[in-house]
């Protein structure tokens, strides 16, 4: 329930766009065609212009002509498509992803969209990127077995928009600045005597700046279209005096922002939403909701709610506005190919905002805006946007209590990140000044990146993409060949596991297979980066970054603050537990041979149940067991070292990030039986340091101690999922117990933790009577989902997680 009648109504009629099993849950969800139609029309008319100008004119054509809409009761307006039930399509990105959608049940304009898809085929970044890879490499990448398919075919990206520059400056001021740069460049080009070295670089910059001006003017015009629509509705269609007044205020807001600086909280929220739509789903598609929201909105919250000097509003109205924001995000539709729709089981897309931490001056950054956002989150109950809370020693207890309130209700968020560790990492690895590093937010699920007016991450080719380690270990035992799923050679020939004579032989094969997968993945990202810079300019995104404006560069090309990272998705603990079992049972105790093991895995343990039980009962990570944890430490050091060998587009080596999204579910069926006693096809582990389902038997402190043995500072993040007792969390002592647990977690230098607080009984009841559990949320990995939207297989993986009793003291 919302805190007001409005938000309760909005939630009841919310046009959710969640997917389950790769399909949209709500029957009315459709693929919109207007964006694809308009960008195609513009492309045909402007071929021959520089790419940035073509892209700017494409955006201009979309924003000037796409149908805009406002729904009843809305306080925040604007969407990415022509109808509130639709999601947009991006034919300029990936041929495969577009074709998949066009041929699906969601596209009602098949003939037109087939023609558009074919038109774009030679221009897509997929076609441009593929030619730099051999057919064998393409086969490996597109099989999605050891690595994620490249961004030029998934069309998947992520971004942290430079919201601050829009909210603080307004676009009209920025247009003036860019026009000054154009005038200065033109003057320099005409100076006497002619100096080529000093002036020729201006040619590309002039194109970039010209494109930025076209894009920003188009955005101001698009906001004005919303202003006119709200006014026309108030004056011609509605009779309710209160709603008419609201619409006239919305009209006034859309006249003011993003053209001008935000005056108060309503302006700031609307300006932020317009900017979000443009950067994440109109200029191009990018996942995420990366922002430090309580820092970004705090000046406007102060003006409107505390000082009441601009756009005055009560605190209750502010909470209502944050509830409206959550519902707006819940309605936002994204287009993804099937692999990614399956990867985000039960979700719409990945939307994660960041709260808490400290300010640039070192003071506590949690404020009353933080609290209002958390209160709205607690009341409205939506899976999106997810929240990450930066846990700092000095953070105030009132805000931490509100974080706890959301967690104990079972939302699965806020997830918690170690503030000091993540801040230091940006300083140490990426040379970010400390005061800038202190304003970090998660780029997507778990990776920190800077926020602010310049230098934020603009594309997933900087950070993102995946290696799938359990599959890598599988092929390390089969000479690099995938016998189980794709039937192709996925990696180098590193020998038949049956012939391995020592644990080091196994380890070396794993290392070489990982190396191949990592390098292919990184190369595909960097090739994609060049394709983005050359063929997919983003003039609006560039126009709101101070660095891009100053340097006349496209946002895809400029890596002002490097932030390279690369995921190791689901399966790390399966690898650790498998290697532990191999070490103990084959090489230390010599109870089995490698030949016996490889044969048993090939046959999915058939006829070898006793042997499987032996491997299942070998020491497991997550129990503070020195034998297993030593393997974990060795594995994670290997991963960090292997990543460190490489240098990416932005000039430094990437840091790994161990997590799973729903990869542990999706990749399980592609992975043969593993030496931890797991059968073929079963789910993998649900994150970087989450013990395998049901294998952590020594209590929550033992899990933390195992996790603490991994040097998390070498990583962008290492995910830890924990299930906590609902009874305990809801008891009078709940907060104190959890707070004490969190202090232990923090003192052990662990990077991350997130919680499921839902009883076994409720989950089983929801499987039988789902209609009674429509607001039951669970944490998957980097995001939360409605339990009833998950496939039975996925639901069972949550049920199988060990429920920890924090009061046990162990």
């Amino acid at each position: 329930m919302g805190t007001t009648e409005r938000t309760t109504r909005l939630k009841n009629r919310c046009r959710f766009k969640h997917v389950a099993g790769g399909e949209y849950v709500d029957a009315g969800v459709k693929a919109g065609v207007e964006r694809a139609r308009l960008i195609t029309q513009s492309h045909k008319e402007n071929i021959g212009e520089p790419n940035c100008v073509i892209r700017a004119k494409g955006l201009e054509n979309i924003l000037s002509n796409i149908t805009v809409h406002i729904q009843d009761d809305e306080l925040i307006v604007g969407a990415n498509t022509e109808h509130p039930d639709y999601f947009p399509m991006y034919p300029e990105l990936s041929y495969f992803a577009t074709l998949d959608m066009v041929e699906s049940q969601y596209c009602d304009h098949k003939d037109e969209m087939r023609e558009i898809t074919e038109y774009w085929k030679p221009y897509t970044i997929q076609t441009k990127g593929e030619k730099y890879f051999t057919p064998e490499e393409i086969g490996i990448m597109y099989s999605a077995t050891t690595i994620q398919p490249p961004m030029f075919v998934t069309a998947f990206s992520s971004i942290v928009p430079t919201y601050e520059s829009v909210l603080e400056d307004g676009l009209l001021k920025r247009i003036e600045e860019v026009e000054k740069n154009i005038a200065n460049a033109n003057a320099s080009l005409r100076k006497s005597p002619w100096n080529a070295q000093e002036n020729l670089h201006y040619l590309d910059k002039l194109d970039q700046w010209k494109a930025m001006v076209i894009a920003m003017k188009a955005v101001v015009g698009w906001a004005q279209r919303h202003a006119r629509l709200a006014k026309i509705m108030a004056e011609n269609f509605l009779t309710d005096a209160k709603r008419k007044e609201e619409l006239l205020e919305i009209s006034d807001i859309c006249r003011n922002v993003p053209a001008n600086p935000a005056r108060g909280l309503r302006d700031a929220m609307q300006s932020k939403w317009f900017t979000y739509l443009l950067c994440h789903s109109i200029e191009r598609y990018s996942s995420g909701y990366g922002q430090k929201e309580d820092k970004l909105l705090w000046p406007y919250f102060q003006k409107s709610v505390i000082e009441k000097s601009d756009q005055p509003m009560s605190r209750e109205e502010a909470v209502e506005l944050f509830e409206c924001e959550r519902l707006k995000v819940s309605e936002h539709g994204s287009t993804k190919g099937r692999q990614l729709r399956e990867f985000f089981a039960g979700s719409n897309d990945l939307f994660i905002l960041t709260l808490g931490g400290i300010n640039p001056d070192g003071s506590d950054a949690s404020n009353d805006c933080t609290n209002a956002i958390l209160e709205a989150t607690e009341s409205i109950i939506t899976t999106e946007p997810s929240i990450s809370f930066r846990w700092n020693e000095i953070g105030n207890t009132e805000t931490k209590q509100k974080v706890f309130n959301c967690i104990k209700k079972g939302f699965g968020f806020p997830s918690i990140k170690n503030d000091e560790m993540n801040t230091q990492q940006l300083i140490k690895y990426f040379n970010v000044p400390e005061e800038v590093a202190r304003d970090w937010a998660l780029v997507l699920c778990m990776s920190p990146g800077i926020t602010g007016r310049r230098g934020t991450q603009k594309t997933r080719s900087e950070g993102g993409s995946d290696v799938y380690p359990a599959k890598v270990l599988e092929i390390a035992l089969t000479d690099g060949f995938d016998e189980f799923f794709s039937n192709i050679q996925l990696g180098p020939k590193t020998g038949d596991g049956a012939e391995f004579k020592s644990f080091e032989d196994v380890w070396n094969a794993l290392k070489l297979q990982l190396r191949f997968a990592i390098e292919l993945g990184l190369r595909s990202k960097d090739v994609g980066r060049i394709m983005e810079s050359t063929h997919l300019s983003c003039p609006f995104i560039s126009s709101i970054d101070d660095g891009c404006v100053e340097k006349g560069m496209d946002a895809n090309a400029l890596a002002e603050v490097p932030n390279p990272w690369h995921n190791i998705i689901g399966g790390s603990v399966v690898v650790i537990d498998s290697m532990t079992a191999i070490k103990q049972l084959v090489f230390d105790e010599k109870k089995y041979t490698m030949a016996q093991l490889v044969e048993a895995l090939r046959n999915n343990w058939e006829g070898k149940e006793e042997m499987r039980i032996d491997f299942w009962n070998a020491p497991k990570f997550g129990n503070d067991d020195a034998y297993a944890d030593a393997v974990a430490t060795k594995y994670y050091d290997l991963i960090a070292d292997e990543w460190k060998r490489n240098t990416t587009y932005s000039g430094t080596y990437p840091l790994p990030l161990a997590q799973s999204v729903a990869g542990y579910i999706v990749n399980g069926p592609k992975t043969a039986a593993t030496a931890n006693g797991r059968h073929a096809g079963e789910a993998l582990d649900d994150g970087g340091s989450s013990p395998y389902m049901g294998c952590d038997k020594n209590g929550p402190t033992a899990v933390l101690k195992s996790a603490s043995k991994i040097n998390a500072s070498k990583y962008k993040g290492i995910l830890l999922n924990q299930r906590l007792s609902t009874v305990l969390m809801n008891s009078d002592a709940g907060f104190d117990l959890w707070h004490a647990y969190m202090k232990t977690w923090h003192s052990l230098d662990i990077d991350h933790v997130q919680f499921n607080v839902i009883s076994q009984e409720d989950m089983k009841a929801a499987q039988i009577e789902p209609e009674k559990y429509t607001d039951t949320l669970v944490r998957i990995a980097g995001y939360s989902a409605k339990f009833i939207d998950l496939a039975r297989y996925s639901q069972d993986t949550i049920i199988a997680r060990t429920e920890q009793d924090m009061a046990s003291g162990s």
């Binding site: 805009v68 009843d72 509130p84 004005q224 279209r225």
Partner: protein
Amino acid sequence: MSKCEKCAFFFPIPEGDMDFEPGKGDCVRQQEDTKGKFWLSRPVFENSDACEHHRTQIN
């Protein structure tokens, strides 16, 4: 044939707006489905042929 100019749902774009062009206007229509009411706006020109939703202005 009727033209958009004469339609009750045609609203001329004010001079000074970024997308102003002579004769250009917003076609604004109300829709309602099981999830509620919403209003759509798309650009049209006054001399465009009327569409199936055309409603002649009464004034």
